[in-house]
């Protein structure tokens, strides 16, 4: 509870945001309305590839209650947006590239008027042949998604080669080859894309959005509007889930455009679930060709990987996701000879984008099944095989980068090997009931922390002593549910010795907080936490020094900061912070600190574009996962009966929020492994709602056990590494390995729905 205790590092600090969320008071972006509200909505294409020949909005303008109908002609600036390559129109001007493309923007007095107007828009679309498979898209003569892209349908290729991959295969005692396919995954955050905007009396456009990237959004909106970014303010309240799906523009540019036509009335846009599915981003589907070779004793010797990632019609973060997939494709192991290639490819499918794991969930699914296939072939214990090859500090990883940060994979695997879940697995497997088969499977996981070498992974923290004597923490990175806002209070409170009641929190706001990058890449607390420690320490030093001056003490050594006041321990004199604050100038009451995450110095890829897209990293979190599954012989249904995750993400600041991330990642991963069967046929989504796209409910998942291996990361805030993503990567391969162990046969495409498992189980 937010009681009178000063927060400390390493013990549970209950999240302050839980109090306002549990009472319904907390205002999300979707909760903004206001007097004279205008509703904004979008007409979507509904077909995956077509030339736009005409767009007739006259009828729509006549619908009673309609305020404005806008098309690409109404965009004052650049009608292209995107995080890296700007290839996505705000409103289609030449052609439709996926079924969720936006054609027109409507402003109306009410939701019924909005719906009627959207239905009255007439567009002539001349259908074009589409391309829906990444390998086919690269073939000669394939329809082009972007005629102006120099690489045709190839957005980006990444390649890394180490050692002698031509001759190394002859030196292997065992070689395994396989191809794995993983599907789209939909984020399914509970708060669908939403926002609210208004032009203030000074002309500034204020946008409240459910976003992970307020500062980057501001830049992108400014370009679309052809304005200076100082005329735009983006406010990011707590997001109702994001998981990568709000990394970049969704409603922001459309809302800003609408606000310019709403006569200073507030405008609201809130995508419904179907629109969220069709227009939002997804985890990239991947086809992954693997070849893995080892010596007879299990020492990994060579790996060759080809990855095809379907980015849909727009880059979004497709190049970066593919690059990160390549970097992690050899797993957390020493492999001296590696040839790793990836292609990020344009298609007319839904848009691929960031999703917890960021390419790593896909390649871990493949590589960890390769490890089990190898263990079977060489008749080795799967934990011992992984332990033998586990990457350690000082080793080179699969892209040839020397690991300088902490690396606890061996410790995770050793703990796993001793655990009853592994030790007693044969007894558990034998106890399967009639018509049930049981299996236990493993996966070793890793996840890079931060942006990589090129895009500066920077945070700017700001802490203020208010005139009321409170400590105000300006959170620079969005809290989308992961709890970093409360962790910021915990960090600042522990350094400045203030109870939660003595502190205030400002959520990300481009006018108030300082740019600190996106809420992504397992970086939120790593990067911002480091900056915050610097700012809080600077403010503490100033408070003590100025108190010493006021009390005419010899120096700050005689003083201590406690909640709400400074005490001179040698005399018992006390200065309340509210009094001290009035002795400081406004500038003195504020401390700021900038931190930039360290970067790897190696350049494993010859192509500078690959480095620009984030390869390589130098800090990684690790883990070992174990899944206990039971397969129904009659239906093929897979039930996960037990799950264990042992994780090295450095020191744990708050055991409760840490465990929240592990649990949440596991269950999202179990959905990816078993039930989230996102189906797209010729660019059209067949699973367009939560009745057909099945995410786990409370009944579909077991109680999980999470064990931290707390190894100090020297560069981390209090020794921490990021924990937001790493758990997502384990469930699919661990479950797949368990199912393969139970059935004696393996599926190579996912998720493992009962139909798929039954088919494989009963195939002769």
């Amino acid at each position: 509870m937010s009681d009178g205790r000063i927060p400390q590092i390493g013990v549970v600090f209950p999240r302050t945001d839980a109090l306002t969320k549990v009472s319904g008071e907390e205002k999300f972006a979707a909760d903004y309305y206001g007097r004279d509200l205008v509703w904004a909505g979008v007409k979507r294409a509904g077909i995956p590839h077509a030339r736009l020949t005409s767009l007739d909005v006259d009828q729509a303008r006549l619908v009673p209650g309609v305020i404005a109908v806008l098309t690409h002609r109404d965009i004052p600036g650049e009608n292209r947006q995107g995080v890296v390559r700007k290839d996505q129109p705000v409103l289609v001007d030449d052609k439709v590239r996926h079924a969720g493309d936006a054609l027109a923007l409507v402003l109306a007095e009410s939701k019924p008027a909005l719906a009627a107007a959207l239905n009255s828009i007439r567009c002539e679309l001349e259908p074009l042949p589409g391309v829906f498979d990444p390998e086919q898209a690269l073939a000669e003569g394939a329809p082009l998604v972007h005629e102006d892209n120099p690489g045709g349908n190839l957005l980006l290729k990444a390649e890394v080669k180490t050692g002698e991959t031509e001759s190394a295969w002859e030196e292997c005692a065992a070689v395994i080859e396989a191809c794995f396919e993983t599907p789209h995954q939909e984020h399914c955050f509970l708060e669908t894309e939403s926002g609210w905007a208004k032009v203030e009396s000074d002309g500034k456009i204020v946008i409240v959005a459910s976003t992970q990237t307020p500062f980057r959004d501001r830049t992108e909106v400014a370009q679309v509007l052809g304005r200076d970014h100082t005329g735009i303010r983006v406010i990011a309240p707590y997001a109702g889930g994001a998981f990568g799906g709000k990394d970049g523009i969704s409603v922001q540019s459309l809302l800003a455009l609408a606000a310019l036509h709403s006569q200073s009335r507030p405008v609201k846009m809130w995508w419904d679930r179907e629109e969220s599915f069709s227009a939002g981003t997804k985890r990239h589907p991947a086809r992954m060709y693997y070849r893995l070779g080892a010596k007879a004793d299990g020492t990994l010797h060579a790996v060759e990987v080809r990855l095809y990632l379907d980015t849909g019609p727009y880059d979004h973060l497709g190049g970066a996701v593919m690059t990160q997939a390549v970097e992690h494709s050899g797993g957390p192991y020493r492999i001296p000879h590696a040839w790793l290639r990836g292609w990020s490819v344009y298609t007319n499918n839904p848009i691929g984008g960031a999703f917890r794991g960021f390419g790593v969930a896909q390649v871990t699914a493949a590589m960890e099944q390769m490890m089990d296939l190898l263990a079977v072939k060489l008749d080795l214990d799967p934990i011992q095989l992984r332990l033998k090859n586990a990457i350690r500090r000082g080793d080179k990883n699969c892209v040839g980068v020397t690991l300088t940060g902490s690396a606890g994979l061996s410790e995770c695997l050793e703990k796993m090997a001793e655990h009853p879940g592994w030790q007693e697995r044969q007894t558990w497997i034998r106890a399967a009931g009639p018509l049930k088969r049981r299996g236990v499977g493993l996966a070793a996981v890793m996840q890079a922390v931060g942006y990589g070498p090129f895009v500066p992974d920077v945070a700017n923290a700001k802490v203020e002593l208010t005139l009321e004597g409170k400590i105000r923490v300006y959170s620079g990175v969005v809290d989308m549910g992961q709890g970093n806002a409360a962790t910021n209070l915990q960090i600042a409170g522990s350094i400045l010795s203030q109870t939660p009641a003595q502190m205030e929190l400002i959520l990300p706001d481009t006018d108030r907080t300082l740019p600190s990058g996106s809420a992504s890449a397992s970086r939120c607390t790593y990067t911002f936490g480091n900056a915050l420690i610097g700012a809080a320490q600077a403010l503490k030093d100033r408070i003590l020094q100025r108190s010493a001056d006021l009390l005419m003490a010899a120096g700050p050594d005689e003083l201590v900061l406690v909640s709400g006041l400074v005490r001179r321990v040698t005399t018992g004199q006390e200065i309340p912070l509210a009094v001290l604050a009035k002795w400081l100038t406004d500038a003195e009451r504020i401390a700021v600190y900038r931190f930039r995450a360290p970067v790897a110095q190696e350049r494993p890829a010859k192509d500078d574009q690959v480095r620009l897209h984030g390869l390589p990293h130098c800090i990684f979190s690790y883990g070992a996962h174990l899944a206990m599954v039971e397969v129904d012989e009659l239906t093929g249904a897979v039930e996960v009966k037990g799950y264990l995750a042992i994780t090295d993400s450095g020191r744990v600041l708050n055991p409760q929020t840490y465990e929240q991330q592990i649990h949440g990642g596991i269950v999202q991963g179990l959905g990816y492994a078993l039930s989230e069967d996102f189906r797209v046929t010729d660019g059209l989504i067949q699973t367009s709602d939560l009745a057909t796209y099945i995410i786990p409910t409370a009944m579909d998942v077991p109680d999980m056990l999470s064990i931290p291996v707390e190894i100090n990361e020297p560069t981390g805030p209090f020794g921490l590494k990021g924990v937001g993503e790493v758990a997502m990567n384990g469930p699919l391969p661990a479950v797949a390995n368990a199912v393969a162990a139970a059935c004696g046969k393996r599926c190579y495409s996912f998720p493992l729905t009962s139909e798929r498992v039954l088919q494989v189980m009963t195939a002769s």
Binding site: S23, G24, D689, M699, D703
Partner: protein
């Protein structure tokens, strides 16, 4: 049309369009945005409210169905002594992450405990299976409901 009902302990009379959904009435007309909408089709439970003490999906109800009923939204759950034991337990157990499913989940848990005051973990899981959460993996939510049972007993 005119409707009368008790909202969070207070009798109210409203003139509303006959086709307005309860979730829109609460959020847009009455400023009770604690009731969330996430799917609009009865799949996710985010819009859960209590009607005569039973959990109901406000996205599948029309305002007329509230006539003469007693409605509790998340804003009305706390009593004179502060937060409801289930709310308290959600905070302590770490059952809240992004928080968008939380109001519906809390109300579903309150309803469950009314019907079954001492549920097993699997009964809790079953009782909450109409409410989706994408953040927590549900374990701490189940922990919270167990904790609320013991607090109420204590």
């Amino acid at each position: 049309m005119k409707i009368n009902f008790v909202l969070n302990g207070r009798e109210i009379e409203l003139t509303v369009p006959s086709d307005i959904r309860v979730v829109d009435l609460l959020r847009e007309e009455l400023d009770l945005t604690g009731t969330k909408e996430s799917c609009g089709s009865g799949e996710c439970g985010a819009c859960t409210i209590l009607v005569d003490g039973q959990s109901r999906l406000s996205c599948l109800m029309l305002a007329a169905q509230l006539q003469g009923r007693e409605v509790t939204t998340i804003e009305g759950l706390a009593g004179d002594k502060g937060r409801h034991p289930v709310q308290e337990a959600f905070v302590s157990a770490g059952a809240v992450q992004c928080g968008f499913c939380t109001p519906g989940m809390v109300l579903a848990a309150v309803d469950l405990l009314e019907r079954r005051p001492d549920p097993s973990r699997s009964e809790i899981r079953e009782g909450l299976s109409g409410n989706l959460c994408r953040c927590t993996g549900y374990q701490k939510i189940v922990d919270a409901v167990e904790m609320a049972v013991h607090r109420e007993e204590g």
